[in-house]
C-alpha cells in the first residue's frame, strides 16, 4: 500500500440517495482497490477464482467486489505463499475489491469435530487426522492480513440458527470479545477493514444487544450474521429489520449468505448494502439459469428445441450468442456450459443490483419493488413474509 493511504481511511462510505419510503439506500463504498456501488452483490470465489471465469470476464460483468474463503485459502495455498506474492489480489490477478470471511463458519460447517472454546475454534486437521488445529481470532486475522482483502471479517462464534437457550447468548457475547481480539491483532488497519458480525440468533433482545455492543467499536462497516441458515423467512426478515434499525446510517451493512433475487430486493428495502451467496454460481453448475420469473433448468427436455436465448433482454455474452437448445445439449456435460451459465447468472445478479441502485436514485424504489414482485409472482400469490417485510418499510404489494 502506498503512503498516501495513511491519510485516507481504507473505507469511506458516501450515501448518494436514500429511499423516502423504505429504508433502502444507495451509495459508494470506496475501498483501497475499488469504489464499489452499493447495494452490491458479491459473487463468491472460494479458492481464489470465480468458477472458471477470467478476471477480465468478471470486470466486463461489472463485478466490483468478490469473496474469497479464508479457510480454503489458509490451507491451500496457505498464508506463506500469500505473503510471498503480496496477497490474493496479485495471486489471482484481480484488480478490484476483495472480501474474505473469517474461516470460522466454514470450519463449523465443513468439519464435524469442531469444538468452540473461549480460545477459538478447535478442529481436526483435514490433512493429518491425528492432530488438532486451533483457529483463534488472532490466527484468523493473521491469515486474512496475508490474503490482503479490502474487507476482512472478524472471527465470530457461530451457532446454528435453530439453537435456543444460553448458548445463543454466550455466542453473542463471545463474538464481541473476539472482535476486540481481532481488532488488536490486526496488522494492516490502513489498508484492510475489519467488519464485526452481529449475532444473537433469532432472539430480538440478544440481537439488539449484539448490534449495540459492536457499534461501540471503532469499525467502518458491519455484517449481519447467523441468518440464512434454516430459520423461517418470517424470523429472518425481522432479524434483518431489527439489525439495520440499530446499525449506524453512515456505515455499510453486509448481510451474509443471502443471494436469491427476492431476498435481495426485500433486504435492500430493509437497508442492507452488501450481499454474498454461492447460489448463482453453484446453480450454474447444475444447468440452471436465473431469469426474472425464477429459473430455467436447462437440463429439462423442453429446451431441446428452444432456440431462444436464456433471456431476450439480457445483454450478457451468453445470451447474445447461445440458445437454450445448445445450452441444453451441453449442460452438465461440458465445462463450457458451466462457464456460460455462470456468466449469465452473474450478469443477472449485477443487473438486478444496478436496477435497485438506479431506482433508489430516481426515488422510484417502491415502484421497482412492486414491479419486480409482480413479474416474479404473476398470480400475485406473494409469500406472506415478503408482504409483511415490505409493509414494515411502507411498501405495499397490490
Amino acid at each position: 500500500m502506498c503512503n498516501s493511504e495513511m491519510s485516507t481511511p481504507p473505507l469511506t462510505f458516501k450515501l448518494l440517495a436514500t429511499c423516502k419510503v423504505s429504508k433502502a439506500r444507495t451509495g459508494i463504498m470506496t475501498l483501497p482497490h475499488h469504489a464499489v456501488d452499493t447495494p452490491v452483490f458479491m459473487p463468491v470465489g472460494t479458492q481464489g477464482t470465480l468458477k472458471g471465469l477470467l478476471p477480465q470476464q468478471l470486470e466486463r460483468l461489472d463485478c466490483q467486489i468478490i469473496l474469497g474463503n479464508t479457510y480454503h485459502l489458509g490451507t491451500r495455498p496457505g498464508p506463506e505463499l500469500m505473503k510471498k506474492v503480496g496477497g490474493l489480489h496479485n495471486f489471482m490477478n484481480w484488480k478490484r475489491a476483495l472480501l474474505t470471511d473469517s474461516g470460522g463458519f466454514q470450519m463449523v460447517s465443513l468439519l464435524k469435530l469442531a469444538e468452540i472454546t473461549e480460545e477459538g475454534v478447535k478442529f481436526q486437521s483435514p490433512y493429518d487426522k491425528t492432530s488438532e488445529v486451533m483457529l483463534s481470532p488472532e490466527h484468523s486475522i493473521e491469515i486474512q492480513n496475508a490474503i490482503g482483502a479490502d474487507i476482512i471479517m472478524q472471527l465470530d462464534d457461530v451457532v446454528k440458527t435453530t439453537t435456543v437457550g444460553p448458548r445463543v447468548e454466550e455466542a453473542m457475547n463471545r463474538t464481541t470479545r473476539w472482535l476486540d481480539r481481532c481488532l488488536s491483532a490486526h496488522k494492516n488497519p490502513n489498508s484492510q477493514n475489519i467488519f464485526p458480525i452481529v449475532q444473537g440468533g433469532l432472539d430480538p433482545k440478544l440481537r439488539a444487544e449484539s448490534a449495540r455492543q459492536l457499534t461501540k467499536r471503532n469499525v467502518r462497516g458491519f455484517a449481519i450474521g447467523g441468518l440464512s441458515g434454516g430459520e423461517s423467512k418470517d424470523e429472518f426478515w425481522k432479524m434483518v429489520h431489527l439489525s439495520t434499525d440499530i446499525l449506524p446510517e453512515d456505515k455499510p451493512r453486509y448481510l451474509m449468505g443471502v443471494g436469491f433475487a427476492s431476498d435481495l430486493v426485500v433486504c435492500c428495502a430493509l437497508g442492507v448494502d452488501m450481499f454474498d451467496c454461492v447460489f448463482p454460481t453453484r446453480t450454474a453448475r447444475f444447468g440452471c439459469a436465473l431469469i426474472a420469473t425464477g429459473q430455467l433448468n436447462l437440463k429439462q427436455q423442453v429446451y431441446y428445441k428452444d432456440y431462444r436465448p436464456i433471456d431476450e433482454e439480457c445483454s450478457c455474452s451468453t445470451c447474445k450468442r447461445y440458445t437454450r437448445a445448445y445450452l441444453h445439449s451441453i449442460a452438465t456435460h461440458e465445462t463450457v456450459a458451466c462457464h456460460l451459465l455462470t456468466v449469465h447468472n452473474i450478469a443477472f445478479q449485477m443487473k438486478l443490483m444496478r436496477s435497485v441502485r438506479e431506482s433508489i436514485k430516481a426515488q422510484k424504489f417502491p415502484e421497482f419493488v412492486q414491479n419486480f414482485m409482480s413479474v416474479l409472482y404473476p398470480e400475485k400469490n406473494y409469500p406472506t413474509w415478503i408482504v409483511d417485510a415490505l409493509s414494515a418499510v411502507n411498501i405495499q404489494l397490490k
Partner: protein, 408 residues
C-alpha cells in the same frame, strides 16, 4: 471450397490455402493447418468470449459426430446448421465421424454400419443415416463414413474389410452428397483406409482418387486417442509415403490424431497439409502446459525454455515429456514465473505457474481454462512457425534443429 497449392517446390512439404468456402467466402486458411478440437460442439473449457481472447480471427474447428449426435434433431429443426447452433458461425466447421482425442473403440463396426460412442452410449450409423446427420449439420467440410478400426497390428483380412466397407459407404455418401441441395456445395473428403498394408492402401487410394473430393483423410493408421502421441515417425513413414504416392498432389491431405510435435513436423515434411487439435487438448486434460520451442527465431536456444526454473531433489524431471511441463508438480507451488516467458498468450501475460498449480490442486475449473488458452495459443504459433519456415525456405534447417534440440 478450393485448395490452392502455393509452393511450387519439388520437395514433398507443401504450403497451401483453402479458399472459396461457400458459407465464408471472404476467408482463407493457410496450410499446414490444424483444426481445433471440439466436444459437444464446444472448444473444451473455452467459451466464445474467451476464444476471442485467444484468436481474434476465425479459426478452423473439427466437430466429431460422436460427441454431437445427440443434437441431431435439434440442429435439423433449427435449420441454420451446426456452425450457428454451437455458436461458432464465423469459423470453418469440419465434421468427422470419430473423436480423435477419445479414440476408436475396436470391434464394433460391421459391413453396413460404423459405431460411434456418444455420451448416451454406442450408436450405429449406416451411410444413409450418417448422411441424414450431415444434411442436418451442414458443415463446411466433412468426411465420408468410413471404417477406420485398424492399426499397425491389423491383419490383411481386417484391413481389406476396412477398405471394402469404406468404399461402399463412399458410394452412398457421394450419391447423397451430389443430390443434396444443402451439401453439394460443401467439401466432402475421401477417406483412405488400409491399415499398414501397402496393397490395401493402394486399392483404397485408387478407388478414391478419381472422385470429386476436396481432399483426402489418411485414416486407419492407429486407433487414435491419447496413445497416438507415443507413435514414432518410423512406425508410419513408409506406409504414409507410399499412400501419398497414389494420391493426386492437388488435393489436400489430412491425418488425425494427437501426434507429438516431432511427428507433426515429419508428417508436414512428407506432405501432409492438415491435422487436428487433439494434442493441445489432451495435454491440457493432464494438467500440463506446452513449452517446446515453437519459434523459428529462438530454436537455437530452445533448451532453456524447457528447463524447469527450479529443480528439487525429490522431483524426477525425466518424468516430464520433453514438450511440456506438468503444472500438477509440487515444484511449481511458489513459482511466480509465467508458464513461458516468451509466450504472449493471456495466461502467460497475466498469470503464474503457482496460480495454475493452485487451481489444479484445488480442482478449480479456471486451471484448465488457463492451460487450454496457453496450449491452443502455443499450438497455433507452432503451426504459424511451420508455415513461415516453409515460406521463408528455411524448412530443412528448422526441421533439423528442432530434432537436434529434442535430443539435448
Amino acid at each position: 471450397m478450393k485448395f490452392v497449392l502455393c509452393s511450387a517446390s519439388k520437395c514433398s512439404r507443401r504450403l497451401g490455402k483453402i479458399i472459396d468456402i461457400q458459407r465464408l467466402p471472404d476467408l482463407a486458411f493457410e496450410t499446414p493447418l490444424f483444426f481445433l478440437h471440439s466436444k459437444g460442439g464446444a472448444i473444451p473449457h473455452i467459451t466464445h468470449e474467451v476464444l476471442q481472447m485467444i484468436s481474434g480471427k476465425p479459426i478452423s474447428i473439427q466437430v466429431p459426430v460422436a460427441s454431437t449426435l445427440h443434437s441431431e434433431d435439434a440442429v435439423r429443426d433449427f435449420k441454420k446448421g451446426l456452425a450457428e447452433f454451437i455458436g461458432l458461425a464465423e469459423n470453418l466447421i469440419y465434421c468427422t465421424v470419430q473423436d480423435s482425442a477419445a479414440g476408436v473403440a475396436s470391434g464394433f463396426n460391421d459391413k453396413s454400419k460404423v459405431s460411434v460412442f456418444t455420451r448416451k452410449g454406442r450408436r450405429e450409423l449406416d451411410a444413409e443415416r450418417y448422411m441424414n446427420v450431415m444434411e442436418a449439420f451442414c458443415p463446411d467440410m466433412y468426411q465420408v463414413l468410413h471404417d477406420g478400426d485398424t492399426d499397425a497390428n491389423s491383419g490383411k483380412k481386417r484391413v481389406t474389410k476396412a477398405v471394402d466397407r469404406t468404399s461402399r459407404f463412399t458410394e452412398v455418401c457421394l450419391q447423397r452428397h451430389k443430390s443434396s441441395e444443402v451439401l453439394q456445395n460443401k467439401a466432402i473428403l475421401g477417406v483412405i483406409e488400409g491399415g499398414h498394408n501397402i496393397s490395401a492402401r493402394e486399392t483404397s487410394a485408387k478407388e478414391m482418387r478419381d472422385h470429386p473430393f476436396a481432399g483426402f483423410v489418411i485414416d486407419g493408421l492407429c486407433k487414435q486417442g491419447p496413445e497416438t502421441e507415443n507413435i514414432q515417425t518410423s512406425d508410419i513413414k513408409e506406409i504414409i509415403e507410399k499412400t501419398l504416392a497414389f494420391l493426386p498432389t492437388d488435393k489436400f491431405r489430412i491425418i488425425h490424431g494427437c501426434w507429438n510435435p516431432e511427428v507433426i513436423l515429419d508428417l508436414v515434411d512428407m506432405g501432409i497439409d492438415m491435422f487436428d487439435g487433439s494434442y493441445p487438448f489432451i495435454v491440457t486434460e493432464r494438467g500440463a502446459a506446452l513449452t517446446f520451442c515453437n519459434q523459428i527465431d529462438s530454436y537455437t536456444d530452445c533448451h532453456s525454455l524447457n528447463t524447469p526454473s527450479k529443480e528439487t531433489e525429490e522431483e524426477n524431471i525425466s518424468e516430464c515429456s520433453i514438450y511440456e511441463i506438468d503444472l500438477n508438480n509440487k515444484m511449481y507451488f511458489d513459482d511466480l514465473q509465467p508458464v513461458s516467458k516468451t509466450c504472449s498468450c493471456l495466461t502467460c501475460k497475466e498469470h503464474t505457474r503457482a496460480y495454475i498449480h493452485h487451481l489444479l490442486s484445488a480442482k478449480e475449473l479456471l486451471g484448465t481454462v488457463l492451460l487450454m488458452i496457453h496450449n491452443i495459443h502455443h499450438y497455433m504459433e507452432f503451426f504459424q512457425t511451420i508455415r513461415r519456415a516453409i515460406k521463408d525456405d528455411i524448412w530443412e534447417d528448422f526441421h533439423k534443429k528442432f530434432k537436434q534440440n529434442l535430443k539435448k
